[in-house]
């Protein structure tokens, strides 16, 4: 199909290609959801065998669509079949992203360095991999033990306190970040070992000062895909405020649905759509009032960061809950709608884990900033990329403290792998 489109522009062929990909995704991922809802609405009894979701289908479907669309637009210039297969199946990022763009990858496959192992790339890749592994098996899995019981209680109607609800919500907020960014780090590290640079997927999202900013920092390759292949083709922000709001809602609604066939994901997407519309509206009002959006005070920035973080935490509750009722119970308890309640004992282990997580996400540089010297990832969005100011936050192989930090991190990860209950990556489900 790609080769055909490379020779001849054809909307029909493109439609067939994209529809074929989406049909497979729709069948495997949404058929059961669709049937369940039809049955619920009509009281019917359509029976469909449980369909097993092929691993990584959500990710490679998008990569195939980008390739077809860009080939039809004549943006793609290379059509080597082996390179195409590698682009789709390159193992470090196959299962849970980053969602790579053909223009980023094909050019690297033609370079000689790709076919040679280089000690420097192996070393840098290994260090990034170790940091990712630590995030996953030590921090994320450690937090999972605290998040899961609270959400399970909410689901089954077991009473829990407001403080426990906040503890569970925050634990999941950090678990998801460390889990997914840990996976992305491991993918980037593994690819680096083969002298391949993958696009950056996380850029300290919890430091965001607005929801617009958040979506430029969280799962960046997914938001880029939705921007380039859905939001902009729908008209983007070029057709007035109302149309822009509608486009945002459609994009975020589908973004939610992409994560899974469940109403909680749809609600989560819709909530982020509302957040984004409100954020754009707020900017418009400030512009009308003559405010310079590029200038702000440190206090204002910190307050914005806190509000954004709180909004994201609430949305994650809906994202994590197994049902809308479970999400409702969590939010009711968090906001004391049944009265604020407190547990008999404070869970100091959770408290220390949350404090550590907050310190890491708010005060420390992220992996890419730490490894800034080597530029191991491609910038997904143009960011003002400066190395951290303090030398301790800039990796240097000759720095003894860094060597000690990496070896301790590696050993603790190995210990955690054997002694903790390690869970699957959360994004394997998507």
């Amino acid at each position: 199909m790609g080769i055909y489109l490379s020779r001849k522009t054809s909307k029909v062929a493109l439609f067939a290609g994209v529809a074929g990909n989406l049909a497979l995704l729709g069948y495997f991922k949404y058929a059961n959801f669709f049937v369940d809802n039809i049955n619920a609405l009509t009281g019917g009894g359509i029976v469909l065998e449980r369909i097993i979701l092929p691993l990584a289908i959500s990710f490679f479907t998008f990569q195939q669509i980008t390739y077809l669309v860009d080939t039809n637009r004549k943006v793609t210039t290379e059509h080597n079949f082996l390179h195409y297969l590698l682009f789709i199946t390159f193992f470090p990022q196959l299962i849970a992203g980053p969602i790579v763009h053909h223009s980023e990858m094909f050019s690297q496959y033609t370079q000689d360095t790709f076919y040679k192992l280089k000690a420097k790339n192996l070393g840098v890749g290994l260090i990034i991999f170790v940091i990712g592994l630590f995030k996953k098996v030590v921090i994320a899995d450690g937090l999972a033990m605290h998040a899961n019981p609270v959400f399970a209680a909410a689901e089954s109607g077991i009473p829990f306190t407001s403080l426990e609800a906040w503890g569970g919500a925050l634990a999941y907020t950090f678990q998801l970040y460390f889990d997914f960014s840990g996976y992305s780090d491991m993918a980037i590290g593994l690819a680096q070992m083969f002298s391949i640079r993958l696009p950056l997927n996380f850029n300290s999202p919890y430091k965001s000062t607005s929801i617009i900013d958040f979506w430029r920092r969280w799962h960046m390759t997914l938001s880029r895909f939705f921007r380039d292949y859905l939001y902009i083709p729908l008209g983007g922000n070029q057709q007035g405020a109302t149309r822009n709001s509608l486009n945002l809602m459609i994009t975020m609604f589908l973004g939610g649905l992409w994560h899974g066939a469940s109403w909680t994901f749809v609600l989560w997407g819709a909530l982020h759509g509302i957040y984004l519309i409100s954020n754009h509206g707020f900017h418009a009002i400030r512009r009308l009032l003559g405010h310079d959006l590029s200038r702000g005070t440190i206090l204002g920035e910190k307050v914005s960061q806190l509000i954004t973080f709180a909004a994201v935490v609430i949305a994650w509750v809906i994202f994590r809950a197994e049902s809308v009722n479970g999400a409702r119970r969590m939010i009711q308890e968090m906001f004391g709608l049944n009265g604020f309640t407190f547990p008999a004992m404070i869970d100091f282990q959770l408290l220390s884990l949350l404090t550590l997580s907050l310190f890491v996400v708010w005060c420390l540089p992220n992996t890419q900033e730490f490894m800034h010297k080597y530029k191991p990832a491609i910038e997904t969005y143009k960011v003002d990329s400066k190395p951290p100011s303090h030398y301790l936050f800039r990796f240097e192989p000759s720095n003894f403290a860094h060597a000690l930090f990496i070896t301790v991190t590696a050993l603790l990860s190995i210990l955690a792998l054997q002694t903790n209950k390690t869970s699957d990556f959360l994004y394997y489900n998507f």
């Binding site: 192989p397 000759s398 060597a403 070896t407 301790v408 210990l415």
Partner: protein, 471 residues
């Protein structure tokens, strides 16, 4: 390190690190060679190559040898690279031993058996450590004054016997009073007429997971139900040593029912690791356990030799204790830290015993041993039961293999049916029916059963025995 005064110092520092690394590796090689030397001094036989490879220490020797060669080659590296590598080597060393120190000192409840024995002795109680059934497998038993070899299958008689189990925060020691042959029973059982039940299993049946190992074990539970039950279970057993124990003790007692325990994980020390079991590793003197396997009527008459067994075991245990005392507590702590004992055991790199796998019992040896067991029990008109004991995820790796374990057990059940051995599946009859099966495990640690489990399994087993009209 960044602010080292001059390049000369940096070069000196990196050379020092590389040379220290080489010295460390040489010490490592010497240490494990010494381990071999100390072990083989206990053996009567000539040392064979197969025995050397069976002990796993050679892996550490090879590892240290490779490291030392790499470090020697490293001395010739480019100076800048050598400086960076030396820092990473030092960092790895400090990180590894820092974590080991932390693990060592954070294990506050790590009261091991020898400490417990010592504390009992200090209180005037003549206690001894329990010996597993596999304690003398490698050395082919103990040598008597007459130069003959004897392979004990029980323990020291009529003494507090110290066992240990894995608790949530490390090992916990405890003791039971051994019977006239060193098993975990009340005294006087061997003199009774008409023994009802003999229990043959491993540590799970002997004492595991107990607060009071004398009271809370299957033998004790069955006795409370009014049966004359004798527990011949020993930690570290394999099916052949179980056969040997039944031959030595149960044959005299002629119990109505013999309960042979089957575990989905390979708790039972593999028969294949008995020296000389494989024809590729010939031994000058046939292994005593193998004589049970190969000779139909072989017996050591152990039931009549308890005095001799006691004196040999006490001598052996005292010599071990003396050896341990010689290495003082600080020395032992240093040895553990130096060998990264805690770190290696946490990451399952303790190669003294291989990790448990789902048992693969359908080998020809297993079939033959099962046949021998059936024939042995039939000879005294007893009934042999194969009891599948808790198949709840006992080890981390086991839970992944739960279906595989079920499939394997189907073939074991088929074989048992063919040999007319009755089967009691505690998973099917107890765990699957229980509303909270995890509550039957000590500290909710998978696989270490608690008193409730033993009580319920005792009820399940006795009900079946009554139904079958055996009791």
């Amino acid at each position: 390190m960044e602010n080292m005064p001059s390049n000369k110092n940096k070069v000196w520092f990196s050379n020092f690190i590389f040379l220290s690394g080489i010295l460390f590796c040489v010490l490592g090689i010497a240490y494990y060679i010494n381990c071999y030397k100390l072990f083989f001094l206990q053996l009567s036989n000539d040392v064979s190559l197969a025995q050397i490879f069976e002990l796993h220490w050679y892996k550490y020797i090879v590892f240290f040898a490779i490291c030392s060669i790499l470090l020697i080659l490293g001395l010739r590296l480019r100076i800048s690279l050598k400086i960076i590598l030396s820092q990473w080597l030092l960092a790895s060393f400090l990180a590894l031993y820092g974590i080991e120190f932390f693990l060592y000192f954070s294990q506050s409840e790590n009261k091991i058996r020898s400490d417990y024995v010592k504390s009992l002795r200090d209180g005037g109680i003549d206690a001894y450590q329990a010996l597993g059934s596999d304690a003398f497998t490698r050395t082919n038993g103990l040598k008597t004054n007459e130069g003959k070899r004897i392979l004990p299958l029980g323990g020291v008689s009529n003494k507090p016997t110290v066992v240990h189990r894995s608790g949530k925060n490390g090992s916990i020691a405890n003791a039971y009073e051994s019977d006239e042959h060193g098993f975990n029973n009340i005294k006087g059982m061997y003199d009774q007429d008409g023994v009802d039940i003999v229990i043959a299993g491993t540590c799970l049946e002997e004492y595991k997971g107990m607060h009071d190992p004398s009271e809370e074990n299957l033998g004790s539970v069955m006795r409370k139900f009014g049966y004359k039950a004798i527990n011949l279970s020993k930690a570290g057993s394999n099916y052949l040593s179980i056969f040997a124990a039944l031959k030595e003790y149960a044959e005299q007692l002629k119990p109505k029912a013999t309960l042979l325990f089957y575990h989905d994980v390979e708790d039972l020390y593999p028969v294949t690791r008995i020296p000389g079991f494989s024809s590729k590793s010939p031994h000058s003197e046939p292994h005593i356990l193998l004589r049970y396997f190969n000779e139909d009527n072989f017996t050591q008459n152990l039931i009549f030799k308890q005095d001799k067994i006691d004196s040999l075991l006490i001598k052996f245990l005292k010599s071990k204790e003396a050896e341990n005392t010689k290495r003082n507590a600080m020395g032992e702590a240093l040895r553990r830290i130096w060998t990264l004992h805690n770190f290696r055991s946490r990451i399952k790199l303790d190669t003294s015993r291989p990790p448990p796998d789902v048992a693969k019992p359908m080998s020809a040896d297993f079939i033959k041993i099962l046949e021998k067991l059936k024939n042995l029990v039939s000879n005294w008109n007893g009934e042999l039961y194969l009891v599948r004991s808790p198949t709840f995820p006992r080890f981390k790796s086991y839970s992944k293999n739960i279906n595989e374990a079920d499939i394997r057990f189907k073939s074991v059940r088929k074989l048992a049916n063919k040999l007319e051995i009755r089967v009691i599946d505690l998973r099917e009859k107890l765990l699957n029916l229980h509303p909270e099966p995890l509550s039957l495990f000590e500290l909710e640690l998978h696989g270490i059963p608690n008193g409730k489990f033993y009580k319920l399994s005792g009820e399940t087993i006795s009900e079946r025995l009554r139904q079958d009209g055996v009791l």
